[in-house]
Symmetry: C2
Subunit: 515 residues, 2 copies
């Protein structure tokens, strides 16, 4: 075990492979080259462009599926995904063992895979685990150590050859037989396919699976058929109402609304909400409320934003259509308004983790945002934050784009001071996901704390009527109400590693102790 630059103890090997400990923000400069996939030859592909094979099993067999391979999927179908489960059903049928599953994220619907993790069909998961699989992992039941990466970190890892994908299985709402695909049309439409981009570019074999085959050309080709080996048509690859919600809704909780209002007022007083600014909120109830407060301020001031980053939703689309935003640069659509807008509005642009988040590119969009609103499960007095584990040690959330977004010019975490009477400001976060130096402001229902590194913000707000406090004071307030939380004892067995945006290991997750 090595103590990394964030003071966390991390191993020098994970699953038998050497890893690099976190070295500080922007400090790790690899000298290597990107991963170089095998050269393909057009003569080995059907000249009429028809790569369709009869079913998923045939495609996996022709792709050469075998023990120990790494199989990737994406999460654009979220909790409505029917494909990953079918894929591993086939692997189980075929008696394949020790697969590594490399999803861009997994959801409660993937609880179906737990028996395969138990019987050795799947040896481990590299990817975010929301819910049951995270619990399973936390309890030390996975053969391999899990590896969690941000969306950008996943692109980086694939690009840099940190891991190689043997077979990528890309569920596409719409595709042609050549493999051109998009997420815009068809019954499983979710808007875009950016999370599968790296998989298509770098995997050895690529299978596109759709339930909505269109004649060539399927445009726009968010996934380019020139990267695709086989196409498969299934009856149904997703459950529409679980893929995108009909509507996403602003919080009705008075506390959350207060947090949202304080956040928007803070941004206004800090001079962030100005002509041509840019912002990224998100689709949670509080984030939506913040976007709505932003809109009110913008209307009052008569200004507009140059761009907003999605997760898009009806509120953001309304702002785009009202002319309050020039462009939405979108990574995923959270409701039907988002999908519909991406289909028809050319200023609603689909992006990918490559353009938005990849830290091993020549820059990315994340650092260009004036203000970014994010969540957290815990923060410490140095503004370090956790987004994957709860204070009881359970790994229940993925990193998503969270780490990548920390590079925004001002990063604000609007979070309640306590959840279920458990304070969120801790002496030490259970798992470190983001270094405090990148987190500028914590907004709670009982006050706002500004990172001392941001003297510019402190000065701008010095005469404010907003409840500016120290993080220590906020912590004390919470503890006066809820009591000082008991330390949670975890075992010393590592069940998961948390990668930083550059592929280094920032922290690990420990097995929870049996009750």
């Amino acid at each position: 075990m090595i103590t990394n630059a964030a003071g966390r103890k991390v191993p020098d090997k994970i699953n038998g492979e050497a890893v690099i400990p976190y070295q500080g923000v922007g400090k790790y400069h690899p000298l290597g080259n990107k991963y170089n996939a095998r050269i393909s030859v057009a003569a080995n592909y059907p000249s009429d462009g028809n790569k369709q094979v009869s079913d998923l099993k045939s495609a996996l067999l022709r792709a050469g599926i075998k023990d120990g391979m790494t199989i990737s999927t994406h999460h654009h179908f979220r909790n409505g995904d029917l494909l990953a489960n079918q894929l591993f059903d086939v692997a189980k049928d075929l008696g394949i063992k020790d697969l590594i599953w490399f999803p861009s994220a997994s959801f409660p619907c993937h609880e179906h895979l737990i028996p395969y993790l138990e019987d050795g069909t799947i040896a481990g998961i590299e990817g975010s685990m929301n819910g049951p699989l995270g619990k399973f992992c936390s309890e030390g039941k996975m053969k391999r150590t899990a590896v969690l990466r941000s969306h950008g970190g996943r692109y980086q890892a694939i690009q840099d050859g940190e891991l190689t994908i043997d077979i990528a299985v890309i569920g596409a709402a719409s595709a042609d037989a050549f493999g051109n695909a998009n997420g815009l049309n068809g019954p499983s439409a979710s808007g875009l396919l950016g999370f599968a981009l790296a998989d298509s570019q770098y995997a050895d074999k690529v299978i596109v699976v759709t339930d909505h085959l269109v004649p060539f050309p399927c445009v726009p080709w968010q996934i380019q058929g020139n990267y695709v080996d086989f196409t498969v048509v299934l009856d149904k690859i997703g459950i529409p109402e679980k893929i995108v919600s009909g509507t996403t809704q602003i919080t009705k909780s008075p506390d959350r609304l207060l947090i949202a209002e304080l956040t928007a007022k803070f941004c206004d007083e800090a001079g962030i909400i100005k002509e041509g600014f840019s912002f990224q909120a998100g689709a949670g109830g509080t984030a939506l409320a913040i976007g709505d407060f932003f809109a009110q301020i913008m209307r009052r001031k008569g200004i507009k934003a140059r761009f907003a980053r999605g997760g898009s939703n009806q509120y953001l689309i309304n702002m785009l259509e009202e002319g309050l935003i020039d462009y939405v640069l979108d990574g995923q659509t959270f409701d039907l308004s988002g999908v519909e807008s991406m289909r028809k509005n050319e200023n609603h642009v689909w992006t990918s983790p490559f353009t938005s988040y990849n830290y091993h590119g020549k820059g990315n969009f994340a650092s260009m945002l004036d203000v970014v609103i994010l969540g957290a499960t815990e923060v410490d007095l140095n503004f370090n934050a956790n987004v994957v584990t709860h204070s009881d040690g359970y790994l229940l959330h993925g990193i998503g784009g969270w780490q990548n977004c920390l590079f925004g010019k001002t990063v604000i975490l609007p979070i309640p001071l306590f959840r279920n009477r458990i304070p969120i400001i801790r002496d030490r976060v259970t798992t470190l996901c983001g270094p405090g130096e990148l987190i500028d402001v914590i907004v709670t229902e009982r006050g706002i704390a500004i990172n001392p590194l941001r003297q510019d913000l402190i000065e701008k707000l010095q005469d404010s009527d907003l409840p500016i406090k120290s993080l220590g004071d906020l912590k004390q307030e919470a503890e006066e109400i809820c009591g000082v939380p008991e330390p949670v004892e975890l075992s010393d067995e590592i069940v998961a590693a948390i990668k930083w945006v550059d592929g280094t290991v920032i922290d690990v997750v420990y097995k929870v102790k049996e009750m």
Copy 2:
């Protein structure tokens, strides 16, 4: 020298590097991997996304320009390009020597660079040379052997690391300071930037130069800023009227119109023009006339094409807007109608040599076309064709997408039987660019020859009133009119190599003898 699979003598080394002789269509299966560019780190790029430097010289210096480097440019500005000349003016000023220029094509406007080829600033050219540079090369005045590749072959060569680009200089009609760029807007608009795609993806350093800077985000990002190191704004990077013509015109020559009519009738009788078919013509006067005849046939039959490949032009756009074509998949726009249509019509899709032509991909669009209409300077009795040299040995044309398009289902060369009293059907083509097995039909003003390999076409046309003849008979007719051409003696000094779509050497070009 080795005799390759086409019976042509080719060297085993070009410019000191080992090369692979042509092995037959679809026969070369490299076992290697793609080129792996260096990993970049976002921390080394401006976090606000502003990569603008003051001028081209600063950008080249910061990109580390030095002797012997390979510098690439693209030809979307065609004969209106002002950038390549300025770029090498800077190199000359800096006293840099032995540069390799790797344009996607060069034009008469680049005659400006001949003094730099003479004084050693530029050691040689890898790329098509239309006009004066071709003549200069033919006369043996270039230090290095030139290498000519198709559009797809150029993508393949870059992707496969056959050559590496040290600095790519990408002229963009429209760009933001981060380097996102497109060819759609601004005074130098030419529609798209597909020819520079590989350069952006694989070059070590990438400089985007524009005369039309827009605030981030410049969308669509045909070139992604995440690949770009520096951006430069110049007053003027192109001469609009030489970049795109106001209008492209159908030929008025009665002979050419006859050839066009015969071609269209042939396609009709062969059953090619049917509901949902696809075609690629081009923008020459004869090709435009063929497109127009196609339109007449389609209207009469009440059918439409699923897609047409551009080079787009006003006639093709009219067909798209009339509903005769569902999609135009475009590689370059040849007139203002093409640019305007690509801007506003989502069914007018910009493509790249990667999607359209790259032979070392998992298939490409070229082989999916039902019929492709191409030109040639010479053909022989086995349907082998030449597209780069004239019968006097002068290298005056590039390959363009010509070789790539030979993979279409039916390939037709509509060509006059003789030009300036020089017959085009020869015993042996001066330079072999395309193997006869891929060329199906030759249409001349005095008859149509079908490749005996296409018995299906011969059978379909057996009762036709069209003047179907053997290629031998057509050759004899031409020689009866013009006389048997004198053989042209060339020196045995190799001045250029012609690559096949897979990177192998299909033929070479010899130095012309002094008059």
